[in-house]
Protein backbone atom coordinates (compact mmCIF):
# COMPACT_ATOMS: atom_id res chain seq x y z
CA UNK A 1 0.00 0.00 0.00
CA UNK A 2 2.85 2.32 0.85
CA UNK A 3 4.24 1.73 -2.63
CA UNK A 4 1.01 2.67 -4.28
CA UNK A 5 0.68 5.89 -2.33
CA UNK A 6 4.26 6.76 -3.12
CA UNK A 7 3.70 6.04 -6.81
CA UNK A 8 0.55 8.12 -6.88
CA UNK A 9 2.21 11.04 -5.13
CA UNK A 10 5.24 11.18 -7.39
CA UNK A 11 3.01 10.49 -10.40
CA UNK A 12 0.82 13.42 -9.47
CA UNK A 13 3.88 15.64 -9.27
CA UNK A 14 5.01 14.61 -12.73
CA UNK A 15 1.45 14.85 -14.01
CA UNK A 16 1.12 18.36 -12.65
CA UNK A 17 3.98 19.41 -14.91
CA UNK A 18 2.36 17.77 -17.91
CA UNK A 19 -0.82 19.59 -16.93
CA UNK A 20 0.91 22.97 -16.98
CA UNK A 21 2.07 22.44 -20.54
CA UNK A 22 -1.29 20.95 -21.51
CA UNK A 23 -3.11 23.90 -20.01
CA UNK A 24 -1.32 26.35 -22.28
CA UNK A 25 -1.97 24.06 -25.17
CA UNK A 26 -5.71 23.97 -24.47
CA UNK A 27 -5.95 27.70 -23.95
CA UNK A 28 -4.29 28.37 -27.29
CA UNK A 29 -6.66 26.00 -29.03
CA UNK A 30 -9.75 27.47 -27.42
CA UNK A 31 -8.99 31.12 -27.87
CA UNK A 32 -7.05 31.16 -31.09
CA UNK A 33 -7.66 27.81 -32.81
CA UNK A 34 -3.95 27.06 -32.66
CA UNK A 35 -2.55 23.55 -32.27
CA UNK A 36 1.01 24.21 -31.22
CA UNK A 37 3.34 21.35 -32.08
CA UNK A 38 6.27 23.35 -30.73
CA UNK A 39 4.84 23.36 -27.20
CA UNK A 40 7.67 21.15 -25.98
CA UNK A 41 10.25 23.56 -27.37
CA UNK A 42 8.42 26.35 -25.55
CA UNK A 43 9.48 24.53 -22.39
CA UNK A 44 13.01 23.80 -23.60
CA UNK A 45 13.89 27.39 -24.53
CA UNK A 46 13.12 28.91 -21.11
CA UNK A 47 15.26 26.21 -19.50
CA UNK A 48 18.26 27.41 -21.49
CA UNK A 49 17.33 31.05 -20.91
CA UNK A 50 17.35 30.45 -17.16
CA UNK A 51 20.71 28.67 -17.42
CA UNK A 52 22.01 31.70 -19.27
CA UNK A 53 20.87 34.13 -16.57
CA UNK A 54 22.30 31.84 -13.89
CA UNK A 55 25.62 31.71 -15.73
CA UNK A 56 25.66 35.50 -15.83
CA UNK A 57 25.34 35.49 -12.06
CA UNK A 58 21.66 35.88 -11.29
CA UNK A 59 20.11 33.69 -8.57
CA UNK A 60 17.54 31.13 -9.66
CA UNK A 61 14.47 33.17 -8.64
CA UNK A 62 15.66 36.22 -10.52
CA UNK A 63 16.54 34.15 -13.57
CA UNK A 64 13.04 32.74 -13.46
CA UNK A 65 11.44 36.18 -13.37
CA UNK A 66 13.68 37.53 -16.12
CA UNK A 67 12.95 34.49 -18.25
CA UNK A 68 9.22 34.99 -17.72
CA UNK A 69 9.57 38.49 -19.09
CA UNK A 70 11.62 37.40 -22.08
CA UNK A 71 9.29 34.47 -22.77
CA UNK A 72 6.23 36.74 -22.77
CA UNK A 73 7.84 38.89 -25.40
CA UNK A 74 9.32 36.13 -27.57
CA UNK A 75 7.18 33.02 -27.07
CA UNK A 76 4.00 34.99 -26.41
CA UNK A 77 3.86 38.16 -28.44
CA UNK A 78 6.53 37.22 -30.99
CA UNK A 79 5.06 33.78 -31.69
CA UNK A 80 1.64 35.33 -32.23
CA UNK A 81 2.78 38.16 -34.47
CA UNK A 82 5.35 36.36 -36.58
CA UNK A 83 3.80 32.94 -37.04
CA UNK A 84 0.19 32.73 -35.92
CA UNK A 85 -1.22 36.00 -37.27
CA UNK A 86 -0.10 35.56 -40.88
CA UNK A 87 -1.10 31.90 -40.95
CA UNK A 88 -4.34 31.64 -39.06
CA UNK A 89 -6.35 32.71 -42.10
CA UNK A 90 -5.09 29.72 -44.11
CA UNK A 91 -6.74 27.29 -41.67
CA UNK A 92 -5.54 24.82 -39.08
CA UNK A 93 -3.27 22.59 -41.17
CA UNK A 94 -0.74 25.13 -42.51
CA UNK A 95 -0.38 26.48 -39.00
CA UNK A 96 0.18 23.01 -37.59
CA UNK A 97 2.85 22.40 -40.23
CA UNK A 98 4.45 25.73 -39.44
CA UNK A 99 4.67 24.88 -35.74
CA UNK A 100 6.18 21.51 -36.69
CA UNK A 101 8.79 23.40 -38.71
CA UNK A 102 9.28 25.79 -35.82
CA UNK A 103 9.86 22.88 -33.47
CA UNK A 104 12.56 21.44 -35.74
CA UNK A 105 14.12 24.85 -36.26
CA UNK A 106 14.30 25.73 -32.57
CA UNK A 107 15.73 22.36 -31.60
CA UNK A 108 18.34 22.46 -34.35
CA UNK A 109 19.33 26.03 -33.60
CA UNK A 110 19.96 25.20 -29.96
CA UNK A 111 21.86 22.08 -30.97
CA UNK A 112 24.00 23.63 -33.68
CA UNK A 113 24.41 27.03 -32.08
CA UNK A 114 24.81 26.12 -28.45
CA UNK A 115 25.20 22.51 -27.43
CA UNK A 116 24.07 19.01 -28.28
CA UNK A 117 24.76 17.82 -24.77
CA UNK A 118 22.68 17.74 -21.63
CA UNK A 119 23.32 20.34 -18.93
CA UNK A 120 22.56 20.15 -15.23
CA UNK A 121 19.89 22.48 -13.89
CA UNK A 122 19.50 23.58 -10.27
CA UNK A 123 16.44 22.45 -8.39
CA UNK A 124 14.18 25.09 -6.93
CA UNK A 125 13.64 22.88 -3.89
CA UNK A 126 16.03 21.42 -1.31
CA UNK A 127 17.20 17.81 -1.61
CA UNK A 128 16.09 15.19 0.87
CA UNK A 129 12.74 13.86 1.84
CA UNK A 130 10.00 14.13 4.37
CA UNK A 131 8.54 11.16 6.19
CA UNK A 132 4.77 11.33 6.24
CA UNK A 133 3.35 8.50 8.32
CA UNK A 134 5.95 6.03 7.09
CA UNK A 135 5.87 7.17 3.48
CA UNK A 136 8.89 9.07 2.33
CA UNK A 137 8.13 11.96 -0.01
CA UNK A 138 10.84 14.13 -1.48
CA UNK A 139 10.77 17.87 -1.03
CA UNK A 140 11.03 18.23 -4.80
CA UNK A 141 7.75 16.36 -5.33
CA UNK A 142 5.98 18.36 -2.64
CA UNK A 143 7.32 21.64 -3.98
CA UNK A 144 6.30 20.77 -7.52
CA UNK A 145 2.80 19.83 -6.44
CA UNK A 146 2.33 22.97 -4.38
CA UNK A 147 3.67 25.33 -7.02
CA UNK A 148 1.82 23.72 -9.92
CA UNK A 149 -1.32 23.54 -7.82
CA UNK A 150 -1.14 27.22 -6.91
CA UNK A 151 -0.65 28.20 -10.53
CA UNK A 152 -3.58 26.13 -11.73
CA UNK A 153 -5.91 27.33 -9.00
CA UNK A 154 -4.80 30.90 -9.57
CA UNK A 155 -5.45 30.61 -13.26
CA UNK A 156 -8.90 29.12 -12.69
CA UNK A 157 -9.78 31.96 -10.32
CA UNK A 158 -8.52 34.48 -12.81
CA UNK A 159 -10.58 32.96 -15.61
CA UNK A 160 -13.75 32.63 -13.54
CA UNK A 161 -13.70 35.55 -11.17
CA UNK A 162 -12.18 38.49 -12.97
CA UNK A 163 -13.72 40.55 -15.74
CA UNK A 164 -10.74 39.97 -18.01
CA UNK A 165 -10.83 36.24 -17.33
CA UNK A 166 -14.50 36.01 -18.17
CA UNK A 167 -13.96 38.00 -21.31
CA UNK A 168 -11.25 35.56 -22.31
CA UNK A 169 -13.59 32.65 -21.73
CA UNK A 170 -16.24 34.34 -23.81
CA UNK A 171 -13.74 34.71 -26.65
CA UNK A 172 -12.83 31.06 -26.34
CA UNK A 173 -16.43 29.93 -26.49
CA UNK A 174 -17.69 32.11 -29.24
CA UNK A 175 -15.48 34.69 -30.85
CA UNK A 176 -18.20 36.39 -32.86
CA UNK A 177 -20.59 36.74 -29.97
CA UNK A 178 -17.76 38.09 -27.84
CA UNK A 179 -17.04 40.73 -30.45
CA UNK A 180 -20.68 41.74 -30.56
CA UNK A 181 -20.60 42.11 -26.78
CA UNK A 182 -17.85 44.66 -27.21
CA UNK A 183 -14.98 42.55 -25.94
CA UNK A 184 -11.58 43.46 -27.30
CA UNK A 185 -11.02 40.06 -28.88
CA UNK A 186 -7.51 40.80 -30.14
CA UNK A 187 -6.28 41.78 -26.74
CA UNK A 188 -7.88 38.75 -25.07
CA UNK A 189 -6.20 36.44 -27.57
CA UNK A 190 -2.87 38.11 -26.90
CA UNK A 191 -3.36 37.53 -23.16
CA UNK A 192 -3.79 33.84 -23.85
CA UNK A 193 -0.46 33.74 -25.68
CA UNK A 194 1.23 35.53 -22.79
CA UNK A 195 -0.27 33.12 -20.24
CA UNK A 196 0.92 30.17 -22.33
CA UNK A 197 4.44 31.58 -22.33
CA UNK A 198 4.49 31.96 -18.54
CA UNK A 199 3.05 28.48 -17.99
CA UNK A 200 5.85 27.11 -20.16
CA UNK A 201 8.48 28.85 -18.06
CA UNK A 202 7.01 27.41 -14.87
CA UNK A 203 6.94 23.95 -16.43
CA UNK A 204 10.59 24.41 -17.43
CA UNK A 205 11.55 25.44 -13.90
CA UNK A 206 9.92 22.35 -12.44
CA UNK A 207 10.85 19.77 -15.03
CA UNK A 208 14.44 20.60 -16.00
CA UNK A 209 16.16 19.43 -12.79
CA UNK A 210 15.07 15.87 -13.65
CA UNK A 211 14.94 16.08 -17.47
CA UNK A 212 18.26 17.99 -17.69
CA UNK A 213 18.49 20.91 -20.11
CA UNK A 214 18.95 19.49 -23.57
CA UNK A 215 17.84 20.54 -27.03
CA UNK A 216 15.42 17.62 -27.38
CA UNK A 217 14.00 17.69 -23.85
CA UNK A 218 10.75 19.11 -25.22
CA UNK A 219 9.93 16.07 -27.35
CA UNK A 220 8.50 14.00 -24.58
CA UNK A 221 6.85 16.79 -22.59
CA UNK A 222 5.27 18.22 -25.74
CA UNK A 223 3.75 14.89 -26.63
CA UNK A 224 2.50 14.29 -23.11
CA UNK A 225 0.92 17.74 -23.00
CA UNK A 226 -0.75 17.00 -26.24
CA UNK A 227 -2.25 13.70 -25.11
CA UNK A 228 -3.17 15.11 -21.73
CA UNK A 229 -5.14 17.85 -23.46
CA UNK A 230 -7.09 15.44 -25.65
CA UNK A 231 -7.70 12.90 -22.92
CA UNK A 232 -9.06 15.53 -20.59
CA UNK A 233 -11.04 17.34 -23.25
CA UNK A 234 -9.60 19.75 -25.71
CA UNK A 235 -12.14 22.44 -24.98
CA UNK A 236 -11.93 22.38 -21.22
CA UNK A 237 -9.22 23.90 -19.05
CA UNK A 238 -9.99 21.54 -16.19
CA UNK A 239 -9.67 18.69 -18.66
CA UNK A 240 -6.00 19.41 -19.26
CA UNK A 241 -5.40 19.19 -15.53
CA UNK A 242 -7.19 15.87 -15.21
CA UNK A 243 -5.49 14.47 -18.31
CA UNK A 244 -2.02 15.47 -17.13
CA UNK A 245 -2.37 14.05 -13.65
CA UNK A 246 -4.03 10.90 -14.94
CA UNK A 247 -1.14 10.23 -17.31
CA UNK A 248 1.44 10.94 -14.62
CA UNK A 249 -0.12 8.52 -12.15
CA UNK A 250 -0.91 5.76 -14.62
CA UNK A 251 2.59 5.85 -16.09
CA UNK A 252 4.06 5.34 -12.66
CA UNK A 253 1.64 2.60 -11.69
CA UNK A 254 1.94 0.71 -14.98
CA UNK A 255 5.72 1.10 -15.01
CA UNK A 256 5.88 -0.40 -11.56
CA UNK A 257 3.28 -3.15 -11.59
CA UNK A 258 3.07 -4.15 -15.25
CA UNK A 259 6.18 -3.45 -17.28
CA UNK A 260 8.52 -0.47 -17.43
CA UNK A 261 9.08 -1.23 -21.12
CA UNK A 262 5.63 0.01 -22.05
CA UNK A 263 5.48 2.95 -19.67
CA UNK A 264 5.70 5.40 -22.57
CA UNK A 265 2.75 3.67 -24.19
CA UNK A 266 0.34 4.42 -21.36
CA UNK A 267 -0.62 7.88 -22.57
CA UNK A 268 -1.24 6.56 -26.06
CA UNK A 269 -3.45 3.67 -25.06
CA UNK A 270 -5.45 5.97 -22.82
CA UNK A 271 -5.71 8.41 -25.68
CA UNK A 272 -6.84 5.80 -28.22
CA UNK A 273 -9.45 4.58 -25.75
CA UNK A 274 -10.70 8.12 -25.28
CA UNK A 275 -11.07 8.86 -28.98
CA UNK A 276 -12.88 5.55 -29.43
CA UNK A 277 -15.36 5.90 -26.61
CA UNK A 278 -15.46 9.55 -25.65
CA UNK A 279 -13.97 11.60 -28.44
CA UNK A 280 -14.76 14.92 -26.80
CA UNK A 281 -12.49 13.98 -23.90
CA UNK A 282 -13.27 12.96 -20.33
CA UNK A 283 -14.48 16.40 -19.27
CA UNK A 284 -15.10 17.89 -22.70
CA UNK A 285 -18.32 18.92 -24.31
CA UNK A 286 -19.11 17.69 -27.80
CA UNK A 287 -18.17 20.31 -30.33
CA UNK A 288 -20.48 21.22 -33.09
CA UNK A 289 -19.15 20.75 -36.54
CA UNK A 290 -17.84 23.99 -37.95
CA UNK A 291 -18.71 24.33 -41.59
Amino acid sequence: MGDLIHLILSGTATGAIYALAALGFTLLWQAAGVINFAQGEFVMLPAFAMLFFIAVGAPLWLSFLLTCAVAMVVLGYGFKRVIVDPLIKHGVIPLVIATLGLSIAVKSIVRAGYSAEAHPFPSAFPAGQLSLGGIAVSYADIGTLVLAGLIVIGLQMFLNKTVTGRAMQAVAQNTDAARVLGIDVKRMVLYVFLINAVLSVVAALLVTPTYLAKFDMGDSIGQKAFFAAIIGGFNQTRGALLGGVLIGILENVVGFYVSPAYKEGVALVLFLAVILFRPEGLLGKAEERKV
Binding site: I35, I83, P86, L87, H90, V92, I93, P94, L95, V96, I97, A98, L100, G101, L102, S103, I104, A105, V106, K107, S108, I109, R111, A112, G113, Q223, F226, F227, I230, A261, Y262, E264, G265, A267, L268, V269, F271, L272, I275, L276, P279, E287, V291
Partner: protein, 320 residues
Protein backbone atom coordinates in the same frame (compact mmCIF):
# COMPACT_ATOMS: atom_id res chain seq x y z
CA UNK B 1 3.33 23.01 -71.68
CA UNK B 2 1.36 20.29 -73.36
CA UNK B 3 1.07 16.69 -72.25
CA UNK B 4 3.57 15.41 -74.79
CA UNK B 5 6.25 17.77 -73.64
CA UNK B 6 5.60 16.81 -70.04
CA UNK B 7 5.95 13.13 -70.85
CA UNK B 8 9.14 13.91 -72.75
CA UNK B 9 10.65 15.74 -69.80
CA UNK B 10 9.64 12.96 -67.46
CA UNK B 11 11.19 10.22 -69.60
CA UNK B 12 14.32 12.29 -70.14
CA UNK B 13 14.80 12.86 -66.42
CA UNK B 14 14.31 9.16 -65.69
CA UNK B 15 16.98 8.33 -68.25
CA UNK B 16 19.32 10.91 -66.73
CA UNK B 17 18.89 9.39 -63.28
CA UNK B 18 19.58 5.92 -64.67
CA UNK B 19 22.72 7.09 -66.47
CA UNK B 20 23.99 9.05 -63.48
CA UNK B 21 23.48 6.03 -61.24
CA UNK B 22 25.41 3.77 -63.63
CA UNK B 23 28.50 5.90 -63.32
CA UNK B 24 28.14 6.93 -59.68
CA UNK B 25 30.22 5.75 -56.76
CA UNK B 26 28.93 2.93 -54.59
CA UNK B 27 27.94 5.22 -51.76
CA UNK B 28 26.04 7.50 -54.13
CA UNK B 29 24.19 4.57 -55.65
CA UNK B 30 23.21 3.55 -52.13
CA UNK B 31 21.94 7.05 -51.46
CA UNK B 32 19.95 7.13 -54.69
CA UNK B 33 18.37 3.79 -53.83
CA UNK B 34 17.52 5.08 -50.37
CA UNK B 35 15.90 8.07 -52.04
CA UNK B 36 13.73 5.81 -54.21
CA UNK B 37 12.71 3.81 -51.14
CA UNK B 38 11.63 6.89 -49.21
CA UNK B 39 9.87 8.19 -52.27
CA UNK B 40 7.61 5.14 -52.28
CA UNK B 41 6.49 6.06 -48.77
CA UNK B 42 6.09 9.77 -49.48
CA UNK B 43 4.14 9.10 -52.68
CA UNK B 44 1.73 7.13 -50.52
CA UNK B 45 1.62 9.84 -47.89
CA UNK B 46 0.81 12.41 -50.55
CA UNK B 47 -2.36 10.45 -51.27
CA UNK B 48 -3.41 10.80 -47.64
CA UNK B 49 -2.27 14.36 -47.10
CA UNK B 50 -2.58 15.94 -50.48
CA UNK B 51 -5.57 14.21 -51.99
CA UNK B 52 -7.62 13.21 -48.98
CA UNK B 53 -6.65 16.27 -46.94
CA UNK B 54 -5.71 14.31 -43.80
CA UNK B 55 -2.65 14.82 -41.67
CA UNK B 56 -0.91 11.56 -40.98
CA UNK B 57 1.96 11.46 -38.53
CA UNK B 58 2.41 7.72 -38.66
CA UNK B 59 3.85 6.95 -42.08
CA UNK B 60 7.11 5.70 -40.55
CA UNK B 61 5.14 3.14 -38.55
CA UNK B 62 3.77 1.60 -41.75
CA UNK B 63 7.19 1.89 -43.32
CA UNK B 64 8.49 -0.06 -40.33
CA UNK B 65 5.73 -2.67 -40.36
CA UNK B 66 6.51 -3.32 -44.02
CA UNK B 67 10.21 -3.59 -43.25
CA UNK B 68 9.79 -5.93 -40.30
CA UNK B 69 7.30 -8.18 -42.07
CA UNK B 70 9.72 -8.30 -45.01
CA UNK B 71 12.75 -8.99 -42.84
CA UNK B 72 11.07 -11.86 -41.02
CA UNK B 73 9.53 -13.33 -44.17
CA UNK B 74 12.62 -12.96 -46.36
CA UNK B 75 14.79 -14.56 -43.72
CA UNK B 76 12.30 -17.42 -43.53
CA UNK B 77 12.82 -17.94 -47.24
CA UNK B 78 9.55 -16.51 -48.56
CA UNK B 79 10.15 -15.27 -52.13
CA UNK B 80 10.35 -11.52 -52.62
CA UNK B 81 7.41 -11.32 -54.99
CA UNK B 82 5.22 -12.86 -52.33
CA UNK B 83 6.60 -10.70 -49.54
CA UNK B 84 5.63 -7.51 -51.37
CA UNK B 85 1.86 -8.14 -51.37
CA UNK B 86 1.97 -9.57 -47.85
CA UNK B 87 3.56 -6.39 -46.48
CA UNK B 88 1.31 -4.15 -48.54
CA UNK B 89 -1.86 -5.92 -47.43
CA UNK B 90 -0.72 -6.01 -43.82
CA UNK B 91 -0.24 -2.24 -43.84
CA UNK B 92 -3.51 -1.70 -45.71
CA UNK B 93 -5.46 -3.66 -43.11
CA UNK B 94 -3.74 -2.00 -40.16
CA UNK B 95 -4.38 1.35 -41.83
CA UNK B 96 -8.10 0.60 -42.06
CA UNK B 97 -8.23 -0.54 -38.45
CA UNK B 98 -6.47 2.59 -37.23
CA UNK B 99 -8.19 5.06 -39.51
CA UNK B 100 -11.70 3.86 -38.83
CA UNK B 101 -12.08 4.99 -35.21
CA UNK B 102 -10.10 8.18 -35.78
CA UNK B 103 -11.99 9.30 -38.86
CA UNK B 104 -15.31 8.29 -37.41
CA UNK B 105 -15.16 11.03 -34.83
CA UNK B 106 -13.39 14.06 -36.10
CA UNK B 107 -11.20 14.50 -39.05
CA UNK B 108 -8.17 16.16 -37.49
CA UNK B 109 -8.02 13.36 -34.93
CA UNK B 110 -6.26 11.18 -37.49
CA UNK B 111 -3.10 13.20 -36.90
CA UNK B 112 -3.16 12.46 -33.19
CA UNK B 113 -4.15 8.85 -33.62
CA UNK B 114 -1.38 8.16 -36.12
CA UNK B 115 1.17 9.88 -33.91
CA UNK B 116 0.17 7.69 -30.98
CA UNK B 117 0.12 4.63 -33.18
CA UNK B 118 3.64 5.35 -34.37
CA UNK B 119 5.00 5.57 -30.85
CA UNK B 120 3.26 2.30 -29.92
CA UNK B 121 4.61 0.48 -32.97
CA UNK B 122 8.08 1.72 -32.08
CA UNK B 123 7.72 0.38 -28.54
CA UNK B 124 6.59 -3.01 -29.83
CA UNK B 125 9.56 -3.19 -32.21
CA UNK B 126 11.91 -2.44 -29.40
CA UNK B 127 10.40 -4.62 -26.72
CA UNK B 128 9.08 -7.75 -28.42
CA UNK B 129 12.51 -9.25 -28.77
CA UNK B 130 11.40 -12.70 -29.85
CA UNK B 131 9.63 -11.34 -32.88
CA UNK B 132 11.59 -8.24 -33.83
CA UNK B 133 15.03 -8.84 -32.37
CA UNK B 134 14.45 -5.88 -30.02
CA UNK B 135 17.13 -3.25 -30.04
CA UNK B 136 19.59 -5.63 -31.70
CA UNK B 137 17.37 -5.60 -34.75
CA UNK B 138 17.38 -8.16 -37.53
CA UNK B 139 20.51 -8.54 -39.62
CA UNK B 140 21.42 -10.56 -42.67
CA UNK B 141 18.28 -9.74 -44.63
CA UNK B 142 18.78 -11.12 -48.17
CA UNK B 143 18.34 -9.07 -51.30
CA UNK B 144 15.92 -10.46 -53.85
CA UNK B 145 16.67 -12.71 -56.73
CA UNK B 146 13.97 -13.01 -59.39
CA UNK B 147 13.78 -15.57 -62.16
CA UNK B 148 17.34 -16.63 -61.53
CA UNK B 149 18.71 -13.07 -61.67
CA UNK B 150 20.27 -11.88 -58.44
CA UNK B 151 19.85 -8.25 -57.46
CA UNK B 152 22.51 -8.41 -54.81
CA UNK B 153 24.94 -5.85 -56.26
CA UNK B 154 24.41 -2.18 -55.40
CA UNK B 155 23.73 -1.05 -58.96
CA UNK B 156 21.52 -4.03 -59.77
CA UNK B 157 19.50 -3.41 -56.64
CA UNK B 158 19.21 0.26 -57.51
CA UNK B 159 17.72 -0.51 -60.91
CA UNK B 160 15.41 -3.05 -59.36
CA UNK B 161 14.16 -0.43 -56.88
CA UNK B 162 14.04 2.29 -59.50
CA UNK B 163 11.84 0.26 -61.84
CA UNK B 164 9.60 -0.80 -58.95
CA UNK B 165 9.20 2.84 -57.97
CA UNK B 166 8.19 3.79 -61.49
CA UNK B 167 5.61 1.00 -61.54
CA UNK B 168 4.24 2.09 -58.18
CA UNK B 169 4.08 5.73 -59.26
CA UNK B 170 2.35 4.78 -62.47
CA UNK B 171 -0.20 2.78 -60.53
CA UNK B 172 -0.93 5.75 -58.27
CA UNK B 173 -1.21 8.06 -61.25
CA UNK B 174 -3.67 5.70 -62.88
CA UNK B 175 -5.61 5.44 -59.64
CA UNK B 176 -5.97 9.22 -59.41
CA UNK B 177 -7.07 9.43 -63.03
CA UNK B 178 -9.78 6.81 -62.58
CA UNK B 179 -13.32 7.97 -61.82
CA UNK B 180 -12.76 6.67 -58.35
CA UNK B 181 -9.68 8.82 -57.97
CA UNK B 182 -11.42 11.91 -59.27
CA UNK B 183 -13.71 11.74 -56.29
CA UNK B 184 -10.67 12.58 -54.20
CA UNK B 185 -10.18 15.85 -55.96
CA UNK B 186 -13.81 16.73 -55.45
CA UNK B 187 -13.48 15.79 -51.82
CA UNK B 188 -10.37 17.85 -51.20
CA UNK B 189 -11.70 20.91 -52.99
CA UNK B 190 -15.08 21.00 -51.35
CA UNK B 191 -15.93 18.22 -48.95
CA UNK B 192 -19.44 19.40 -48.21
CA UNK B 193 -20.39 19.67 -51.84
CA UNK B 194 -18.83 16.29 -52.54
CA UNK B 195 -20.87 14.76 -49.78
CA UNK B 196 -24.07 16.24 -51.09
CA UNK B 197 -23.20 14.74 -54.47
CA UNK B 198 -23.15 11.31 -52.87
CA UNK B 199 -19.44 10.88 -52.20
CA UNK B 200 -19.01 9.07 -48.91
CA UNK B 201 -16.33 11.22 -47.36
CA UNK B 202 -15.34 8.91 -44.56
CA UNK B 203 -15.08 5.84 -46.77
CA UNK B 204 -12.97 7.62 -49.35
CA UNK B 205 -10.68 9.25 -46.82
CA UNK B 206 -10.23 5.94 -45.07
CA UNK B 207 -9.35 4.20 -48.33
CA UNK B 208 -6.88 6.90 -49.30
CA UNK B 209 -5.24 6.60 -45.92
CA UNK B 210 -5.02 2.80 -46.14
CA UNK B 211 -3.58 2.87 -49.67
CA UNK B 212 -1.05 5.44 -48.52
CA UNK B 213 -0.14 3.10 -45.68
CA UNK B 214 0.27 0.20 -48.11
CA UNK B 215 2.70 2.25 -50.21
CA UNK B 216 4.79 2.87 -47.10
CA UNK B 217 4.71 -0.86 -46.44
CA UNK B 218 6.08 -1.54 -49.92
CA UNK B 219 8.79 1.07 -49.35
CA UNK B 220 9.62 -0.72 -46.11
CA UNK B 221 10.19 -4.01 -47.94
CA UNK B 222 12.75 -2.36 -50.19
CA UNK B 223 14.30 -0.58 -47.23
CA UNK B 224 14.90 -3.82 -45.36
CA UNK B 225 16.44 -5.34 -48.46
CA UNK B 226 18.60 -2.30 -49.16
CA UNK B 227 20.11 -1.84 -45.71
CA UNK B 228 20.13 -5.61 -45.07
CA UNK B 229 19.57 -4.79 -41.42
CA UNK B 230 16.73 -3.20 -39.50
CA UNK B 231 16.29 -1.93 -35.98
CA UNK B 232 13.59 0.33 -34.51
CA UNK B 233 15.52 3.61 -34.93
CA UNK B 234 14.59 4.54 -38.52
CA UNK B 235 10.88 4.01 -37.78
CA UNK B 236 10.70 6.49 -34.96
CA UNK B 237 7.95 9.07 -34.99
CA UNK B 238 10.44 11.72 -36.09
CA UNK B 239 10.76 9.98 -39.47
CA UNK B 240 7.00 10.35 -39.92
CA UNK B 241 7.40 14.02 -39.27
CA UNK B 242 10.15 14.36 -41.84
CA UNK B 243 8.09 12.47 -44.40
CA UNK B 244 5.09 14.69 -43.78
CA UNK B 245 7.20 17.80 -44.16
CA UNK B 246 8.71 16.40 -47.37
CA UNK B 247 5.24 16.06 -48.87
CA UNK B 248 4.12 19.50 -47.74
CA UNK B 249 7.31 21.26 -48.78
CA UNK B 250 7.27 19.65 -52.20
CA UNK B 251 3.65 20.58 -52.69
CA UNK B 252 0.95 18.36 -51.23
CA UNK B 253 -1.70 17.26 -53.65
CA UNK B 254 0.66 17.65 -56.59
CA UNK B 255 1.67 14.37 -58.04
CA UNK B 256 5.38 15.20 -58.25
CA UNK B 257 5.47 17.13 -54.96
CA UNK B 258 7.06 14.26 -53.03
CA UNK B 259 9.80 13.95 -55.67
CA UNK B 260 11.03 17.43 -54.78
CA UNK B 261 10.31 17.13 -51.07
CA UNK B 262 12.17 13.86 -50.70
CA UNK B 263 15.22 15.31 -52.43
CA UNK B 264 15.23 18.00 -49.78
CA UNK B 265 15.05 15.60 -46.86
CA UNK B 266 17.23 12.73 -48.14
CA UNK B 267 19.62 13.81 -50.90
CA UNK B 268 20.33 17.46 -50.14
CA UNK B 269 21.67 17.00 -46.60
CA UNK B 270 24.04 14.27 -47.78
CA UNK B 271 25.15 16.38 -50.71
CA UNK B 272 25.90 19.27 -48.39
CA UNK B 273 27.68 16.98 -45.98
CA UNK B 274 30.19 15.97 -48.61
CA UNK B 275 30.58 19.38 -50.16
CA UNK B 276 33.98 21.03 -50.35
CA UNK B 277 32.57 24.46 -51.06
CA UNK B 278 33.61 26.35 -47.98
CA UNK B 279 30.68 28.74 -47.70
CA UNK B 280 28.31 25.78 -47.80
CA UNK B 281 30.12 23.99 -44.97
CA UNK B 282 28.19 25.74 -42.25
CA UNK B 283 25.09 24.03 -43.64
CA UNK B 284 26.41 20.71 -42.42
CA UNK B 285 25.56 21.66 -38.87
CA UNK B 286 22.81 24.14 -39.62
CA UNK B 287 20.88 22.21 -42.24
CA UNK B 288 17.99 21.18 -40.03
CA UNK B 289 17.75 24.63 -38.52
CA UNK B 290 17.54 26.23 -41.95
CA UNK B 291 15.08 23.57 -43.04
CA UNK B 292 12.82 24.25 -40.08
CA UNK B 293 12.84 27.99 -40.65
CA UNK B 294 12.23 27.42 -44.35
CA UNK B 295 9.15 25.33 -43.55
CA UNK B 296 7.73 28.15 -41.46
CA UNK B 297 8.50 30.69 -44.17
CA UNK B 298 7.03 28.44 -46.82
CA UNK B 299 3.80 28.09 -44.89
CA UNK B 300 3.55 31.86 -44.59
CA UNK B 301 4.33 32.78 -48.19
CA UNK B 302 3.78 29.64 -50.22
CA UNK B 303 1.46 27.25 -48.38
CA UNK B 304 1.01 25.19 -51.55
CA UNK B 305 4.62 23.99 -51.52
CA UNK B 306 7.52 24.51 -53.90
CA UNK B 307 5.68 23.16 -56.93
CA UNK B 308 2.99 25.80 -56.57
CA UNK B 309 5.40 28.55 -57.56
CA UNK B 310 4.26 28.29 -61.16
CA UNK B 311 0.61 28.73 -60.24
CA UNK B 312 1.50 31.62 -58.05
CA UNK B 313 2.94 33.50 -61.00
CA UNK B 314 0.04 32.56 -63.20
CA UNK B 315 -2.51 33.77 -60.71
CA UNK B 316 -0.62 37.03 -60.30
CA UNK B 317 -0.66 37.58 -64.03
CA UNK B 318 -4.35 36.88 -64.17
CA UNK B 319 -4.87 39.31 -61.36
CA UNK B 320 -3.17 42.00 -63.33
Amino acid sequence: MNAQMKTGILVASLVVVAVVASFAKRSDVYLLTLYCVYLMATFGLNLTVGYAGQMSLGQAAFFGIGAYVAAIALKAGVPFLLVLPISAIACFVVGLALGFPALRVQHHYLAFATLGFNVLVYLVMRNEEKLTGGTFGISGIPRPSLFGVSFDGPLAFFFFTFVSLIILAFFLWWLLRSPWGRAFAALRDNPIRAESLGVNITAYTLLAFAIGAACAGIGGVYYASLVEFIEPGPFHFSTSLTMLLAVIVGGSGRFFGPVIGTIIIILLPELLRSTNVSWLKFMQTWYLAVFGVAVVALMIWLPGGILSIGDRFKSKEVAK
